[in-house]
């Protein structure tokens, strides 16, 4: 990894970010209607609508709106949400922990489960275990998320009332820190379980395919010939080889942690960034939607950047190629 490459990579990332910033502004403004035009209330006259437009700053010339927007984005001071009239940052920060906990826990669990099952399937080719993993993986990835979540809700929260139906806390919440943590964990079990069930299949199929290919390589045969233990061969040699694509996928799915929460948070009535995004877009809340998409783009660009760097760190071939260039 040389300095030239790094500078080129940073510059291209900044270019992408600038394009996203402009598109973020333009796309929302060329979309028909705004936060006010969809109001259909006879007690809200055109005059009152004009006052509201003024309150939201939508009466200003487009160029002026653009400069205000750019200033807000670059200084990370995203202004006030049209819908809540609270600072967008404050809204995002209040929702971020819940989304991050939900999505990162489920991502870690689904990847661990999927990778483990994928390896098991690859090691047991033609056996029942492989068939089971392949079938389960295919089923898990085929069902739409909201369907699985609603079925789980009906079964585990209604028919067998093991888990709560909604939210992240009981009403009223228990007293004491430990009790609150337990209550939170109890509420998050079903959403995390549903996301894990929906996510592990893809990992299992992907890892199984990679491992099958790698286990047939000459160096694995060589390792076996050297008398290495099966564990050493699998985890020390074969798995290490497939680690770069796995890490890439893991890093590339970081932006999805936020955007993928939309449906889950809606079904389980969770207070998070997913529902914030949904409300912002459907309510034409420009400051909120602009900030959310800007941050998503930023996370995506940073994740991709790190994915490139990490790829180079774990795969010596990439480093050598970079040096030779």
């Amino acid at each position: 990894m040389n300095r030239k490459w790094l500078i080129r990579r940073i510059l291209s990332s900044l270019g992408v970010l600038a394009a996203v910033l402009v598109l973020n502004f333009v796309l929302f403004r060329i979309m028909p209607g705004d936060a006010i035009s969809t109001i259909i209330d006879p007690s809200f006259s055109p005059e009152a609508k004009a006052l509201l437009r003024e309150l939201y700053g939508l009466d200003k010339p487009m160029l002026e709106q653009f400069f205000i927007y750019m200033k807000q984005m670059l200084t990370f001071n995203f202004g006030l949400s049209f819908l809540s009239r609270r600072p967008v940052w404050q809204e995002l920060l209040s929702r971020l922990p819940s989304t991050l906990i939900l999505m990162s826990v489920s991502m870690v669990l689904s990847s661990i489960l999927g990778i483990w099952l994928g390896i098991k399937a690859a090691l047991n080719r033609g056996k029942f275990v492989e068939t089971l993993v392949l079938r389960l993986g295919a089923v898990a990835t085929s069902f739409p998320g909201f369907f699985v979540q609603l079925v789980l809700l009906m079964l585990l929260a209604r028919t067998f009332a093991i888990f709560p139906l909604r939210g992240s806390l009981s009403v009223p919440p228990p007293t004491g820190t430990f009790a609150i943590i337990l209550d939170y964990a109890w509420h998050m079990t079903l959403p995390v379980l549903s996301l894990t069930l929906m996510g592990f299949g893809g990992w299992a199929l992907y890892v199984r395919n990679l491992m099958v290919r790698v286990l047939g390589e000459d160096y694995v045969l060589m390792a076996r010939a050297r008398g290495l233990t099966e564990k050493r061969i699998v985890y020390g040699h074969a798995f290490r080889t497939i680690l770069p694509p796995i890490l890439t996928i893991l890093l590339m799915s970081v932006p999805g942690l936020v955007s993928g929460a939309v449906i889950t948070e809606s079904v389980f009535s969770l207070y998070g960034v997913g529902t914030f995004l949904l409300e912002a877009v459907s309510g034409h809340d420009y400051p909120s939607a602009g900030a959310a998409f800007y941050l998503l783009a930023l996370i995506t660009i940073i994740s991709n950047f790190f994915a490139d760097i990490v790829y180079g760190l774990v795969d010596p071939r990439v480093r050598i190629e970079g040096r030779n260039r």
């Binding site: 979309m31 028909p32 209607g33 705004d34 006010i36 035009s37 969809t38 109001i39 259909i40 006879p42 007690s43 809200f44 006259s45 055109p46 005059e47 009152a48 609508k49 004009a50 006052l51 509201l52 309150l55 006030l80 819908l83 809540s84 009239r85 609270r86 209040s94 929702r95 819940s98 609603l150 809700l153 009906m154 929260a157 209604r158 009332a161 139906l165 909604r166 939210g167 992240s168 806390l169 009403v171 009223p172 919440p173 809606s266 079904v267 389980f268 009535s269 969770l270 207070y271 998070g272 529902t275 409300e279 034409h284």
Partner: protein, 572 residues
């Protein structure tokens, strides 16, 4: 033979449909009557009787249903899907409450573009639509076909609002009388001999509004049957509204919630409202209708308003700027663990009266849980615009005039009486509202509520041009408050509706209003008090205890509420 049996089938189907709807309305009224039992005097209600009210935030409608079935929720309102209503109806632990609603669904016709620029063609279209069939097939009878421009529940709606006007033969005859003919394919040919071009019917996307999209298809079929070449075009809701605003459409389907009063007709059908951002999206323009709507909007008293309202509705039946299709019933589910639940044929159980009177059947007092379908997000009464924010704020803030649950007529709230009179002469003639406030009223912090607080509220809203209340106070000329509880509001012009507009404004204490530094960004839940005072001080039956975003809004009984001093009697 085949045709004959088809005709018999059709007649039978029509009769069965009509019978189903009549039976349904009968059951609805019967259910409401059996529920409310006694027609008590709402002025003498004692309450609230519960100590705590919890509004649990559940966004997903399936999760709401599951919560109601599980018993986590005691009251769930605003149910729209027939399948959901059927599911909960089968649950013996719940009681369903139905009432005629304020929702109305219309087929909008662009009155400025052919062929809808001819009122007889519009009348033919109105006659061609089989509303009964739509109600039966799409909504399983959970709504009523309408032929009125006000919701049937409104005390101002004409009694003939449910009249069946479906008659394809008459529609064809009407079109023929205007010189239209039909080509071999059955498509309409204009009097000038040109085939009517494709007419696009705009509808929201099926994934957003599945029943509306299905309804649009049925309307298109109905219009097709008399020769209108209608084609459904689903599109994003905002894009559709934008097209309606520019009159860049031929046909569209749209539903809206209407108020009780008929002055909204002015907003929807007066030609002055055919402006950008105005609600006359059909572009209706009729001299006599304009004059009548003007008289309605600026009527000096109730009698004049009634006369103008009746005439305006008759004129609309003739002009047909849009075609009313149906009005959805309001449906709510209530746990049988609670008694004194009030339902009338006009309001469902999820109303303020239920929350005031409800008591557990077993006598063990506990928190009453009801669904809040969306995050309230904003608790600033000046800028909160969503219905969900006002579902909460409406428990805290009150106006001077309320609404009778049995008749929907005005009834005293903070004011014990009022009068409307016309004063001045010539150009200076104006409406003068005189309110007499009740004695001994208190805010939920225990301080006294006087006419000076109401004056401060009106003056504040007027001075700051608060958009949400702008239309209610823009014509206020002056407000005068007196020590004896009188409040005189002088308006700049004449309109009977000023009474409701001013009388229903949510009132805040003067000392709070005086401390608000930045009303636009005031967050009453911010303890630092940067933009204004902390807390929601109102005079409604409940007061905010906690708002846990994403989870719930917990409210306590307002121990200073005016109706708590009523004697414990007359409600069962």
């Amino acid at each position: 033979m085949k045709r004959k049996s088809y005709a018999i089938k059709n007649i039978l189907r029509f009769k069965i449909t009509s019978l189903t709807i009549i039976t349904f309305i009968f059951l609805l009224v019967a259910a409401s009557t059996s529920y409310s039992e006694v027609r008590f005097d709402p002025q003498k209600v004692y309450g609230p009787r519960i100590d705590k009210l919890c509004m649990v935030i559940i966004r997903n409608s399936d999760a709401q249903i599951l919560a109601a079935q599980k018993g986590d929720i005691d009251i769930m309102g605003d149910m729209a899907l027939p399948s959901d209503i059927d599911r909960l109806s089968r649950d013996s632990r719940l009681t369903m409450s139905l009432a005629r609603g304020f929702h109305a669904f219309f087929l909008l016709l662009n009155n400025k573009a052919a062929p809808w620029d001819d009122k007889y063609v519009r009348q033919a279209a109105a006659q061609a639509i089989d509303r009964n069939n739509i109600v039966r097939t799409i909504y399983s009878g959970y709504c009523e076909p309408i032929n009125t421009w006000l919701p049937p529940v409104s005390p101002w709606a004409l009694p003939e609002s449910g009249k069946v006007i479906f008659d394809r033969k008459a529609a064809r005859a009407k079109l023929k009388s205007r010189g239209y003919s039909w080509n071999l394919a059955g498509t309409l040919v204009t009097p000038k001999g040109k085939v009517v071009p494709k007419l696009k019917l705009l509808t929201p996307l099926a994934r957003v509004a599945p029943t509306t999209a299905e309804l649009a298809e049925q309307i298109a079929d109905s219009l097709h049957a008399v020769g209108f070449p209608v084609e459904v075009e689903p599109m994003d809701f905002s894009a559709m509204i934008s097209k309606l605003d520019r009159k860049d459409y031929s046909l569209a389907v749209l539903a809206w919630g209407m108020g009780r009063n008929p002055d909204s007709l002015y907003s929807f059908y007066h030609s002055d409202m055919d402006v950008e951002g105005g609600y006359n999206v059909t572009g209706a323009k009729d001299k006599e209708l304009d004059e009548t709507l003007h008289r309605l909007r600026f009527a000096k008293d109730k009698a004049e308003a009634e006369k103008a309202s009746i005439k305006a509705q008759h004129l609309l039946t003739d002009v047909v700027p849009s075609v009313p299709i149906y009005s959805r019933f309001s449906v709510a589910a209530v746990s049988r663990k609670w008694k004194n639940v009030l339902t009338t044929d006009k309001i469902t159980a999820d109303n303020m009266w239920t929350l005031m009177m409800a008591e557990p059947v077993d006598g063990k007092m506990r928190t009453l849980n009801m669904v809040l379908a969306e995050e309230p997000r904003n608790m600033n009464p000046f800028v909160a615009s969503s219905a969900y924010s006002w579902q909460v704020l409406g428990m805290i803030y009150e106006g001077m005039i309320g609404s009778d649950p049995f008749t929907l007529e005005d009834m005293p709230a903070l004011a014990e009486s009022w009068s409307v009179k016309t004063s001045g002469s010539g150009e200076a003639t104006h409406t003068e509202l005189l309110f007499k406030m009740k004695q001994g009223l208190k805010w939920n912090d225990g301080s006294s509520l006087t006419a000076y607080d109401i004056k401060a509220t009106i003056d504040f809203l007027k001075k700051n041009k608060v958009p949400r209340f702008f239309d209610s106070v823009k014509d206020v000329k002056s407000v005068e408050a007196f020590d004896d509880g009188r409040l005189i509001v002088r308006m700049n012009n004449i309109s009977y509706w000023h009474l409701n507009n001013v009388g229903s404004l949510p009132c805040l204490p003067k000392n709070i209003i005086d401390k608000i530094k930045d009303w636009q960004n005031w967050n009453p839940l911010d303890k630092t008090g940067k933009s204004g005072p902390y807390g929601l001080i109102g005079s409604g039956p409940f007061m905010l205890e906690t708002y846990k975003p994403g989870e719930y809004v917990m409210m306590n009984k307002n121990v200073h509420y005016r109706m708590l001093s009523n004697p414990k009697r007359n409600t069962k």
